[in-house]
Symmetry: C2
Subunit: 304 residues, 2 copies
């Protein structure tokens, strides 16, 4: 069992009411990889520049994440995102986005990355997502995207969505892609594009999951301190796909999908407790399972 993830490996400059970080390890593929690595083997496919240091690489190797597909380009700089969160932590204000090496990213998967049983296509240009999907032998695949691609490459994105099993978007993106304000209708229409599962993230309100015959609501964990919301969605996806991959099932059961979504929410709830990858770097599987149990209690109901 293994998961291959394709996407950004970045250096993030972050500013929140709790402090700042300069060029801290971040990016969708980074957060996904770390979350998934608690459950299964991971191959990260990405590109970095010469400013990407040994300490950054060690974050992957410490968790046994394969970096053979992480290309390092000398004389160039890594993708850099700079953002600020205000008091309510709801929306990141982007201060700067420097694509650098990421602008020419055209991933070619190694043999090991191709053979992984699960593939996750992080938020990159939808035609690239499709080309990576074509290189992979994965039996379970998923993708994430964002409003930018919905606006600028909608047809390509719809095509890419039709080639994966699981689509992971936030509620505003689902409404925007489908052009339907009612989330239940929009999510059903999203499934009609091809995927078997729609994971709809709702930020501080949790998430919902639609499949052909199931609807599941995943609570948000009641965190009293959110230090840095960056990476919550990618960690959610990492927990979801990492757990599913570890089961090794051809076709996951209804309860397996539900457990995967809760593990996703667990990972998303941990990553925001500190800056960048700091909390997940010191996270243990025991803590993950403890919070999974807490989620079960938060949702537990007996008939009266």
């Amino acid at each position: 069992m293994a998961v291959t993830v394709v996407g950004s490996v970045a250096l993030d400059s972050l500013e929140t009411p709790f402090g700042t970080r300069e060029r801290a390890l971040g990016g969708a593929a980074t957060h996904f990889s770390l979350a998934a690595s608690f459950f299964t083997e991971v191959h990260v496919v990405g590109v970095v520049g010469e400013d990407f240091g040994k300490d950054d690489l060690a974050v992957f190797s410490d968790r046994r994440i394969g970096t053979d597909d992480l290309q390092r380009i000398e004389g160039a700089r890594s993708f850099h995102w700079s953002g600020r969160y205000e008091d309510d932590m709801a929306v990141a204000q982007t201060l700067a986005t420097e694509l650098n090496v990421f602008a020419e990213f055209d991933p070619q998967l190694s043999e090991a990355a191709r053979r992984a049983s699960t593939l996750f296509l992080g938020n990159i240009q939808p035609d690239l997502q499709r080309r990576v999907r074509e290189q992979s032998d994965a039996r379970l695949s998923g993708l994430d995207s964002m409003n930018y691609w919905i606006e600028s490459a909608r047809d390509s994105l719809v095509d890419a969505i039709g080639r994966v099993d699981v689509v992971s978007l936030n509620d505003a993106e689902v409404r925007m892609l489908i052009g339907e304000p009612n989330l239940a209708r929009a999510s059903r229409a999203l499934l009609e594009l091809g995927p078997d599962v729609a994971l709809v993230k709702q930020g501080p309100y949790g998430a919902v999951m639609y499949t052909g015959d199931d609807f599941f609501s995943i609570p948000a964990y009641p965190l009293e301190t959110v230090v840095d919301p960056t990476g919550a969605g990618d960690s959610f996806a990492g927990g979801f796909f990492g757990f599913l991959d570890s089961l090794g099932e051809e076709s996951p059961s209804r309860n397996a999908l539900r457990c995967a979504a809760v593990y996703g929410s667990v990972l998303g709830s941990f990553v925001v407790e500190d800056f960048g990858t700091e909390r997940v770097q010191r996270l243990t599987r025991r803590e993950i399972d403890g919070r999974f149990t807490e989620f079960g209690e938060i949702m537990s109901l007996e008939a009266p």
Copy 2:
């Protein structure tokens, strides 16, 4: 067992993408009463004008809701609210608010209304809420409020909150009242004002419930058609207090509170399926219990 509810009984003029209604029966106490009446006896305390017709009154008497405390003032008009919802159904745009008879509302409870085991103080001026609380012998009490009173009568509202067992507000109101953007912290601080239970409504995302030692997340039912969101919060409260009152317990258990919150969400999910009170007028207890079971399935999780 009986619930007394104090609040607005109104005629609402509504405009949504699904149509319009002119001077349809509405108001917080109306929606609360109808929802609670599926579980227990209800006394509605309010005031109406001579434009309040026999058909309007029949909506209460058809469901055995006591109207001895519903004062009718000749030569005056009922509270009238006029609002419009746009496509996303998220926020009502108020077109007109005519207080009319409601401006002089100073409720005096009848003996039967005083003796009810449960009291709900709908969204009215907080000093009035306190004066009604003082007239009642209820062993379980709750209140609702809104941003207007948080801004204009915060001290009175804090005093009123300190005199009830359950406070029901939406998430934005809790943050605003406490002055704390983190909802978990704000909800804990709300409990420190006195109540044992904080019911925090989150509109289309469901609700959360905080008690001294429990946290419970209530999903939103995935409705594909929301015709008119008016009354959802009041129906939620009606289902919650109606169910709790029907148990007749001195001190409801953790699971009883959770079931009450789900019954609240069930009632809230029905009322929005049609204009005003129309859906709830033709609702059956069998439908309510069917949807309660569906909520249980939406939240159900077995350990992997």
